[in-house]
């Protein structure tokens, strides 16, 4: 669920479309956009305070095969929330392994690659200090 929450909607849509046959569903809670108040801590470790909100879309549904799925995803994309809830439900059924290989693993790899790329660029901006030899000795 955490992975789906952070996945770029366009990418999930692409992988999902390529996955093929999926069970029908009915909504238990139709996709709804809202806000979540994000907290920080004073001095990074102290008492919590309210930093500001972020947009989140949530959704709950039931597959015709009986499994229930929930989603809380970042942003306001209702289709994205529905797909995430479908996947959450299907991960409890027979298609779990196939879904993991076709959708979740690529999302995970992509997330890691994006992170690694930014980490690598940050690493290139790391200062390598050297001390000049002074003429006193």
């Amino acid at each position: 669920m955490s992975l789906l929450a952070k996945a770029p909607p366009a990418q999930l849509a692409r992988l999902w479309a390529a996955f093929g046959e999926v069970p029908a569903y009915s909504y238990l809670r139709a996709p709804e956009a809202g806000g979540v108040m994000v907290q920080g801590r004073a001095g990074a470790t102290g008492a919590p305070f309210n930093l500001g909100e972020m947009t989140v879309t949530r959704c709950s549904l039931k597959l015709e095969t009986g499994e229930i799925g929930h989603a809380y995803v970042q942003g306001r994309d209702k289709d994205h929330a529905t797909r995430a809830a479908q996947i959450d439900a299907m991960m409890q059924g027979a298609q779990a392994a196939a879904l993991r290989a076709a959708v979740l693993d690529p999302l995970q790899e992509d997330l890691q690659a994006r992170r690694a790329r930014r980490g690598a660029k940050a690493a290139a901006t790391r200062v390598e200090f050297f001390t000049m030899v002074r003429g006193e000795d």
Partner: protein, 362 residues
């Protein structure tokens, strides 16, 4: 006399139609897309998210487009939209110690574990206009190094080990929320931090600068400044456990300040804290300095009468939407109010004139 004000409707409609046309500018110039603003005006987007108090880069970019680049107007649009969102809940406090840092510098320790990582910064540029940007063209790829895998420890943790810096004691108290209850003074630090993080960048910067120039001087160092992404975790009622519901970029500044000690506190370093959405480091540093200045009471310092120490002054004036709302309303029709003022001045002048005539006669 009461004057009914009516009849502006057509003028208002036409003014808004012209506004839409002016917003678009010369139709011969290609129109900006929201995605272009989000990607290429990212620091404006970050400011709108921070002061609009809503993390959503697409919405912030749309607001900037709608506001013709007027960032306070864009912040106003985001604040208005924010009020329409149902609140799903509160996240767990973000763990900035686990941040995937893209920038991390310390002005106090050269050899900080984790290193000095400059990131995509304007620092050390010559501030000369780059005319190459006026011509469109490709951008060379940024060089890459060996990415760091482990988390980067906070600098203040090292000072803490020697007991040289005031500690921040962890608690799980529910913080007050000024978007839900009106602000009450004196405000707890949690409320002050919320007000400062969404406060106007220019106002908070000016106050921070005043502390550096000597108004409530507390000599700040940037102990650490870090920018990067952190996961946002929330307890999901349907599940009964917490999951990550997203990832946000934040800027965090911890200032380390000289402190000679007071009646209640030993000589040690004290701290100020800034945390804001996106890459918004001028604001984060300013927030840390003003946070520190406002802590004079709890640290047993003297009230020097400086503006940055005055909680009422800072907190009641740092919100640019409140400020602009009250300021700009005075340009709206005040015909009736003004008419009564006019009557009053005329009456006073008549009275003064009568007085003069009487004096001349005597």
């Amino acid at each position: 006399m009461y004057v009914a004000v009516k009849g502006g409707e057509r003028a208002i409609d036409n003014a808004h139609a012209w506004l839409a046309e002016e917003r678009r500018g010369d139709p011969a110039v290609p129109e900006l897309s929201v995605a272009q603003i989000r990607e290429q005006m990212a620091l404006a987007v970050n400011r709108v998210m921070t002061e609009g108090s809503l993390y959503d880069p697409d919405l912030a970019a749309l607001a900037i487009k709608q506001a013709r680049g007027d960032l306070i107007e864009a912040i106003f649009l985001i604040r208005a939209y924010r009020t329409t969102l149902p609140r799903f809940g509160s996240s767990a406090p973000v763990k900035t110690a686990e941040m995937a840092c893209e920038r991390r510098i310390s002005a106090t320790f050269k050899d900080a574990p984790g290193g000095q990582v400059l990131g995509p910064t304007f620092d050390y540029t010559h501030r000369l206009l780059d005319f190459k940007l006026a011509a469109e063209g490709g951008t060379p790829a940024a060089p890459e190094g060996e990415a760091r895998r482990e988390a980067t420890p906070h600098i203040t943790g090292f000072l803490n080990r020697e007991g040289l810096i005031q500690t921040e004691d962890e608690s799980d108290e529910t913080p007050p929320d000024l978007t839900r209850e009106p602000m009450e003074l004196p405000a707890a630090r949690a409320l002050r931090l919320q007000a400062l993080t969404r406060g106007d960048e220019g106002f908070v910067l000016g106050l921070a600068y005043s502390t550096q120039r000597g108004y409530a001087r507390n000599h700040a160092f940037v102990g650490e400044l870090r920018i990067g992404s952190v996961a946002v975790e929330m307890e999901i009622p349907e599940l009964g456990f917490a999951i990550e519901i997203g990832e946000i970029t934040v800027t965090e500044c911890e200032s380390v300040n000289q402190f000679k000690g007071s009646k209640t506190e030993p000589p040690q370093f004290t701290r100020g804290y800034g945390l804001v959405f996106g890459q918004t480091e001028r604001k984060a540093i300013s927030m840390a300095l003003v946070d520190r200045a406002l802590r004079w009471k709890e640290l047993g310092e003297d009230d020097q009468g400086a503006p940055a120490q005055d909680e009422e002054f800072v907190l009641m004036h740092c919100d640019n939407i409140q400020a602009t709302g009250f300021l700009e309303h005075i340009k709206l029709p005040h015909y009736v109010d003004f008419q009564s003022e006019l009557e009053l001045v005329r009456k006073l002048r008549r009275a003064a004139g009568a007085e003069e005539v009487k004096e001349a006669a005597e």
